[in-house]
Chain length 242, copies 2
Amino acid sequence: MTKNTDLKEYWESKPRLLPSVSIDCVTLGFHNNQLKVLLLKYKNTNYYALPGGFINMDEDLEDAAQRILEERTGLRNIYLEQFHVFGNKSRRNDETHKQIMAGCGIEMKPNNFLLNRFISIGYYALIDFSKATPSPDELSDSCEWYDLDKIPTLMFDHNEIFRKALETLRMMLDDKLIGFNLLPETFTMNELQNLYETILGEKLVRSNFQRKMLGLGILERIEKKMTGAANKAPYLYKFIGG
Amino acid sequence: MTKNTDLKEYWESKPRLLPSVSIDCVTLGFHNNQLKVLLLKYKNTNYYALPGGFINMDEDLEDAAQRILEERTGLRNIYLEQFHVFGNKSRRNDETHKQIMAGCGIEMKPNNFLLNRFISIGYYALIDFSKATPSPDELSDSCEWYDLDKIPTLMFDHNEIFRKALETLRMMLDDKLIGFNLLPETFTMNELQNLYETILGEKLVRSNFQRKMLGLGILERIEKKMTGAANKAPYLYKFIGG
DNA sequence: AGTTATTGTACCAATTTGATACAATGATAG
DNA sequence: CTATCATTGTATCAAATTGGTACAATAACT
């Protein structure tokens, strides 16, 4: 499905989708001590957007979100959490839609289903950066990681959706112990602390952080990690859930 | 709109509604030291349900929830909070729907829009029990308060929706200081404590609770409340938001 | 062997929380 | 009019948690 004629057919003869409802995913990864978010750029436009999609008629909401994210990251069974529904009546914009489709060489008829009103269910996804292989969809020519302080202006209300996701993540971080989803199997205490500091946006005192994490009883100490640096080698830890 | 013919017309010629999306409200009040939830009972059936409704095409989500609740309680500008979207593909049941409509003397055609798949956005509402005047909708013959330990089996997944609402409320109670919405303008510290204990489902130590609440700096002490009981009279407090 | 930077942990002060105690106070009973 | 009673507002102290500093251990480099 790369030729425009195929695309056009695809978008006009969509399989049966749940009307009015879409999903947008705030997909976070952690790399080089930086929190990153996955964004699409639509072909031949300057529109950036969160990865998203629609729900098949015979598909549970959560399954739809998993499917959408698998298509963008290659990963299955992603940690994700619903955080808010965005449902203002004028959150979307017909002109933007038309330009995006035009960028793919598709002319949108006035009765195209995409021009109807949609609400969007926001999910945030926490994934292991090193395992994901981002790939764009049919309408976009890039799907890439962006540092949180370098997020461009996104289409519609996607900046607001992102903001709300981060706010929710911050609130849930201690409560649900979800940070580990952003790290590989094994990690050092320093990496874990950097992750927490990045999400919370504040410095933490090292010794207290270590005490707190070890006190939770959810970390298994694996072995020493010889870094090659001129200092004591840190332990590697593993998350033991439950 | 009380005659069946009118009703039938109403349900078959609905104004333009957002397809696939409904709203269900977990409406809580506090009375006689008991937390209570508002439930409907459909006419001539044994089906109980959370108050709910649909979204008009030109209506924001939040406004729709406010409208639905105003219709059931007579109150405007209710404190409410979105807490989850329930979107399993088989969360609703055609047979149940038909029975409910049949209870109102309406025969549902197979293509009735109500028989399509719907997702439901859950809102919880906290209201001043003494100010609400519950009133049933066209399909139900009662709209009443139920003690939390006397909730009947509800239709579809409404018991699950209720459970999730209460779980969310418990988590948010301290964080967002929302409990005050369940009390009248003025209240005693004892009433406030009873409310907290009921929501959290656990006893709290009186002196510590008082210290904590006063320490928040959001309570204004109004005057003594002479109760007529053989003891020291408590102060009345008022919530000062922000 | 000495230097260096970072790690794991110990330690103490400050703060918060849990639990008990007690004086103050409206009403009632004698 | 005084004694009694139940509940309120507040004080107090111990226990637990958190914030901040210190220090020995150690892997690699000089």
